[in-house]
Symmetry: C3
Subunit: 670 residues, 3 copies
């Protein structure tokens, strides 16, 4: 199945704002010409066009959009059409102030910015439905339109009275009766017991903010609010035309909504990808964004779209550095390697004003097409056309699954324990991911929902699975029992899904699988140090956190080197059923993780994209039989290949002593 049946091929294009240039038809005409030159086949339009589409309350004007779409279509360019809810017109804020958000200090905001509507507001919902419906009626049957782009980068939440009411209703439906909520939230602590749902206001720095269970639920509610709003938007367009799929552009490292849950509301996952290349360690950067790509693919376990990326630089980072030669192709191909079906940009053309007037674009203020940036974009466009056969070969299911769970992320974040600056769940998971990625091992992600399916994985990694629902613990047990390999770490299986600590010893439900029980969690100061000493004598530095396990059957694979728990096992293995349970008790730094996973990859004979030894910073990733050989080392590297390959982009055979330039990429076909 294609993500975009009306244009079943790699998409190449980007956000396009013709509405900023309606008084310059020459520029609009020129754009289509330049798009051809850049091998662009589709653009996203209408993302912030509400004020122009509905210049007055109830008075719509689609004439300009009609023309834009016609002209694009005439030029052979397809369209991803946005609903405009990402920013409301000024007249709406003026006439219906309730559409504006109320912040965490219970202050209603004024008109401005974007992404700041109240998701509960009946007026806002009605206005959204009205315009979405009209857009669908007018354009859904237009052959140019291939995808709905719902709103833009959904984010944030609201604490207005309407949202507060919905929060209380949501809690009611979650907990049934208030005593159950009191028990789950442990409100006997600090006399927080509620006797009326109306007492439960959203968390706030000037109200309640110190109950971790409430905080996690607030994020769940916030996810539910957003999901409900997305479904509302989607229903409006699909009521008219159910055939065109809907996407929402997600964001990297996005904390505030559970994307596994949100993704259920959309047909296609797309996302906006902005690595800070050349900011120090491009290998680490590539590892982080490889994980982001894999996460996006895993949300629906299907290919995804790269909806936004920059052809050159962004303008909103503290340091906005240019992509060095080669990096644009390299990073675009990285997305494909991990499952993307597109390379799209923000933005096609720089506007003359506004907050993003200096954000990188295919076409700069000078309108030229002979620039370095334009040529880079052209090169990617040409490559995508050559790679058309790959379009039908998605990334296959991996043999390794990493558990990443948004509720766990929030719970770790609100847990007061350990060392505040070192708990970071996302980075911790990324360290485990990186150890596998560097070895060319493909990884899927799963969360702890009931639908999570661990079957078929040779290895399941669950770093810091602090919040472990009873059911998922059972699933993990069954998985190992049946022959699976599980690796988990310190600070796992500590609380249940409402955030209450398990009483029977941690990691809850896994102590037999692992053959140990966790006791004290020590936090080290920056000046402190300890190490994991493997049984063969290799020694690896430990970061900030050291848990002291009490072993009941597990075999030590490596011990603590120092302090009063010197000699206590730090890395263990335990045979359970047909499988094995591994436990890493400390926050071992990257080199140690790399060693631990290298041993595991060998032991389990996990498939690697390329079995040859690669220079540091050169990484191989496989998709559909094609090996994407990527050089993030910041220098030219020589790779020795043990078998012959064809260069997929040129068709020529590849030298067995291959020189990859700085930021080089080579697609090896067997």
């Amino acid at each position: 199945m294609s993500l975009t049946p009306r244009l079943p091929r790699f998409l190449h294009g980007g956000d396009y704002n013709p509405d900023q240039w309606l008084d310059r038809p020459d520029i609009l005409q020129k754009d289509i010409e330049l798009m051809h030159k850049a091998h662009v086949n589709c653009v996203s339009i209408g993302i912030f066009s509400w004020a122009l589409l509905e210049p007055e309350d109830g008075a719509y004007d689609f004439s300009w959009l009609d023309q834009v779409i016609e002209r694009l279509w005439a030029g052979g360019i397809h369209v991803i059409l946005a609903t405009p809810s990402g920013a409301r017109p000024a007249w709406m804020a003026q006439k219906y102030p309730e559409v504006l958000r109320v912040d965490e200090r219970f202050v209603r905001h004024h008109f401005g910015g974007r992404h700041n509507h109240c998701p509960s507001s009946p007026v806002y919902r009605e206005k959204v439905r009205a315009i979405n419906t009209r857009l669908a009626q007018r354009y859904a049957n237009h052959p140019a339109v291939i995808l709905w782009h719902l709103s833009n980068e959904y984010s944030g939440d609201c604490r207005c009275p309407l949202c507060t009411q919905r929060w209380q209703d949501w809690l009611k439906s979650r907990y049934g009766d208030i005593d159950s909520l009191n028990a789950s939230w442990w409100t006997s602590f600090w006399s927080m017991r509620y006797t009326d749902w109306k007492q439960i206001e959203p968390p706030s720095p000037i109200g309640q903010e110190s109950n971790p269970a409430m905080q996690v639920d607030w994020r769940r509610f916030s996810t539910w609010q957003c999901k409900d709003f997305i479904l509302w938007e989607k229903k409006a367009v699909q009521d008219v035309c159910p055939d065109i799929p809907c996407t929402a552009n997600l964001m990297e490292r996005f904390y505030k909504y559970d994307y596994f849950s949100l993704a259920e509301a959309i047909d296609v996952v797309s996302w906006d990808c902005y690595p800070a290349w050349h900011s120090g360690d491009d290998v680490a950067m590539a590892a982080e964004f490889a994980m982001n790509h894999d996460m996006m693919r895993s949300l629906k376990q299907q290919p995804f779209l790269l909806m936004e990326s920059t052809p050159s630089l962004v303008n909103w980072k503290p340091v906005n550095k240019l992509k060095r030669p080669g990096m644009h192709l390299l990073s675009s191909m990285q997305a494909l390697a991990h499952g993307s079906q597109s390379v799209m940009y923000f933005q096609w053309r720089k506007g003359r004003g506004g907050a993003e007037m200096f954000h990188g674009a295919v076409v700069d203020h000078d309108g030229r097409d002979d620039t370095r940036v334009f040529r880079d974009v052209e090169e990617v466009g040409q490559a995508l056309e050559k790679l058309t056969p790959l379009y039908r070969k998605p990334r296959g299911k991996a043999k390794v699954c990493i558990v990443f769970d948004w509720s766990c992320w929030w719970a770790v974040d609100f847990a007061q324990a350990g060392r505040k600056d070192s708990m970071n769940y996302f980075d911790t998971v990324n360290m485990h991911y990186r150890a596998l990625w560097e070895q060319g091992v493909s990884v899927d992600f799963q969360d702890t929902r009931e639908c999570a399916d661990l079957s078929g994985y040779a290895l399941v990694v669950a770093p810091m699975l602090f919040m472990l629902p009873e059911g998922f613990a059972a699933k993990l047990r069954a998985y190992v029992e049946a022959g699976g390999h599980l690796l988990t770490t310190y600070f796992s299986g500590v609380v249940n899904e409402t955030g209450l600590a398990y009483l029977g010893g941690a990691p809850h439900g896994l102590t037999e699988v692992l053959g140990l029980q966790a006791t004290e969690l020590d936090a080290l100061y920056p000046g402190d140090s300890n190490a994991l000493v493997l049984k063969d004598g290799r020694r690896f530095a430990i970061g900030a956190l050291c848990e002291i396990p009490e072993v009941n059957g597990a075999v030590s694979l490596g011990d603590y080197e120092r302090d009063f728990y010197a000699g206590v096992p730090c890395l263990t293995g335990n045979a359970y059923g047909q499988g094995m349970g591994y436990y890493l008790a400390a926050k071992v730094e990257q080199p140690g993780l790399n060693a631990v996973y290298a041993d595991l990859v060998d032991a389990l004979a996990l498939p690697r994209a390329l079995s040859d030894t690669l220079p540091e910073g050169v990484v191989a990733t496989e998709r559909g039989g094609v090996i994407f050989l990527q050089n993030y080392a910041g220098k030219a590297c020589r790779v020795k290949l043990s078998q012959p390959y064809t260069n997929l982009l040129t068709g020529y055979p590849v030298s067995r002593e291959l020189d990859l330039p700085v930021n080089g990429i080579m697609l090896l076909d067997k």
Copy 2:
């Protein structure tokens, strides 16, 4: 006199929250068993139980508390009973929003957190009195109850209209007429003159915050408000039963209330003690907490209770490191050495939820009693039983008195002068304290109230006594005149008790005692440096502040080394009457202070706990003839003793070449 006549022995126990486990009678039963094992003899209960004791407005339910107390008493465990005002129930905030505080931006907070009632609110006061009265009526005569624990960690202030009215009334009663306030606050500056008491709002970042005199008075008022509220709470319980003493648990380094004043409202001082052990320099940490202990003892010049400490770690610091083996006994004994009559914990058992679910506890989530932490607690319990004879031997009056004054602290804090990051009054006093503590010299603290009594002290140290009331200056003069030794420093005697600068030259009232007058105060940048050069050539680094004295009779004991005031006296002595006035003009760093005080201790032959030379990091403190030999050096140390001692905990003789382990403690009995 015992602090707790119904249980006249060292208390061992901690905060206990059976109200969190009412659905688990098995756990409540188990707790008593474990308390026995841990040699616990009392627990603090009811601290945050309001929502359970009064689940609806006016509807009380004491049945669960009846049972808890009965069960404890049946198990031989005494009770410290709390009044529940530290956190109000949600229904109260909902029904009477006026009980919630208004913050410094004049915003009323919503329900949440704790310690955030309005101390003026008649509704809140009435509700507090009602429940306190009922608690007293029901439990004061119960033999298990040994002490009232009023509320919990009183803190903060409120700027609601009611508090604003009380602030204006307080000012009226302090200044009589508004012209007197205008003169004292120097309101001719920046046209701040008030003509109506109603114009004087509490200080605020969105109102008046730049008048230092107002700021100091606001803190005095805030202290008065809290004291008045404590007296209100205390009256409620003591109207019913005047025999049971009242305490309030104070906090370390607490800036916002004048504890000397607050302590007048309670019968027993207790406090919550949370050093960050093993965070770098344990000697410095021990010196700071030794000062805290001595301060608590000095508040009422009587023994105190350690009301909270952790058996292992806390969960609210940026880095929550485990206490290393030995440290729990060592730090518990340190409290005793400085005058504590108890070792109590927060908390007995970890809750399953809430902000403190990971705060260290005697009993962890796994409910085990065979843990390192439990054994450490047991060891302390046993030691306290063995030390029972020491209970009747409080720390005696010291020969050295350090002046520490809360008004001065505030005044220094609001004074804009010198180097902002280096004025810190508390740390400055602690540096002087540490020089004496390291030598085993006992110290009392006094503030500048009229009741302060300097008689009997061989040395009075008054570091940075910026705010010096006329009467206390006279007291210091008389003290030296009569043969006392006074050491004071730069930035002393600058303003009177309302904050007006003295006009006649600083340090006001002491220029003859010291034989000099202060002139300019220089502040050094981090890259700058200077030194104090003593007359024998020893050279000690100076920190951020250098005052340039003009000597009129004083003898230089050491001069500035550099800059345009090189050669100007930096440390002076002056004979005055029968005594001596010493002056230290610069912020000399710790090694210099150690040298200065070592000379003084010799010169004045001040008594030391142990005259033997101790290894660095090993400190001796004396209480009731017993020498507490404490090793904070972070390594094992050998101590050579010049006379024989008995180990008080074992009864065995102590080797004259004594090896103290890391974090070792030895109680030497002559």
Copy 3:
């Protein structure tokens, strides 16, 4: 023309607050005696006296001020008389809350602080006019009064409904119709289009803050508001007596108002000057304040007054270090060298209370006149008397003009591009200024207003002229065409005066003058580096920003050393008409700028104050034929002079091998 016709000589004195001492006539009497001793000839009074002048609404009391002025005049001391609007009385805030400001979160502030009136409030304006009129009627004809000191350090802005209305009116008059505003603000971006002026609220962190064009206009409006208020104040006093000039004391590095525009409203520019001497690099500090002085002179292209400076230290910096011996004279003479007609202090005498009770003063709390500070002041007073002939010799017009434009400053600040921490416009201009100042080259400043006149300048420097109005670009073209030399840099000519990006290639309007066009702007991370390599091989480090120019005719004078643009020209020259256009594409660090400007000074034979080679840190500045030789090196320096001079302060000849002490100053007369 003299700035103060009634006292046509160098002014020496300072802010004086006799209203703080009305109950101490002895002190007031003593003050006059001390002023004589210090060679003080005038004082500023009444700056914050409103509460005393109008103690109740409409009830005035001038009796105390009558006496103060009489007594001063009798003592021969002249008076700079302030209007009291800098801080309103408490009764006014209580009775008319509308006079208080509303902040950027739309919260109205409470009484307190200073400089916080609403500039729109009709009540406030009426009260100001009433008291200003009465002051003028009573004192303008008094021979002691030489100047009006309007309010104090005008600053800030207000977002109350009245100010919002004026903001909308101002926009209406600027843009005419709302479509024009929409076009200029590029509101098609993010759906920000306005359809009603009432929708346009002031920028706010809880409203609109992300439109750079709006932000720049808000600052322009804010300047206009303040200017309008100044004109209102001025009219009140000059309606009564048009003869006495008006000043307002401006501030260093003041960002929020366009001082070129504001200065049009006043007769005399004066300013408050507070360098942080001895904080690390006194040469850099002197360079910054030299620029401040030159800027103040350039605002009206006429001499200015130093209205405030400290005789010793301030009290509001993080580190308040004493002026080292010599620095007071040196920094006072620096002001004169750059065009000041006065040396005035904040403050004459320290108050006993208030936020500035420890701010340096001529007379300290001890009231002494034998202090180091008093003697330093005396020395300056004597020097000013000796320098009387210089009073009639202002700084002449310079041969070099630097363009500094407030709108450009704001536009750069709100532009999201490059490297956030390195764009800083003020510091960038100061780096260029410093390179010229170190060589003794005099500099004027101009902004881009229509009245700016570039004729007569041999060199015009326009660093980072990001916002370049079309008309000013034409003026620069004509200037070069006619033989002028222009140097501009990266990030110039990017947007027009409303903030819209130019479409034809940057620097707009100057690509032919410069013989190149800018392409990409690269930002370096702190760890990155590059260098400018001049054609003779000299190599100079580049800071954070590298623009890549595309040369069309310009000659490279130096290239980039590294990265993918190695060898690309970084410094270029281009013959255009009779003149030359130079371009510096990167943020070259100070040593590189020094080298570039040294070459230019030679090439253009620009006049230098002293052609001799000076030791590093010794700087020569010329005024009226007198050379101010200033030693900021932090050590004694020997200067070799190639011709004979007279020491203007002593009349003696100067040695040809002159030893300048630390912080030494020598006035050389030919």
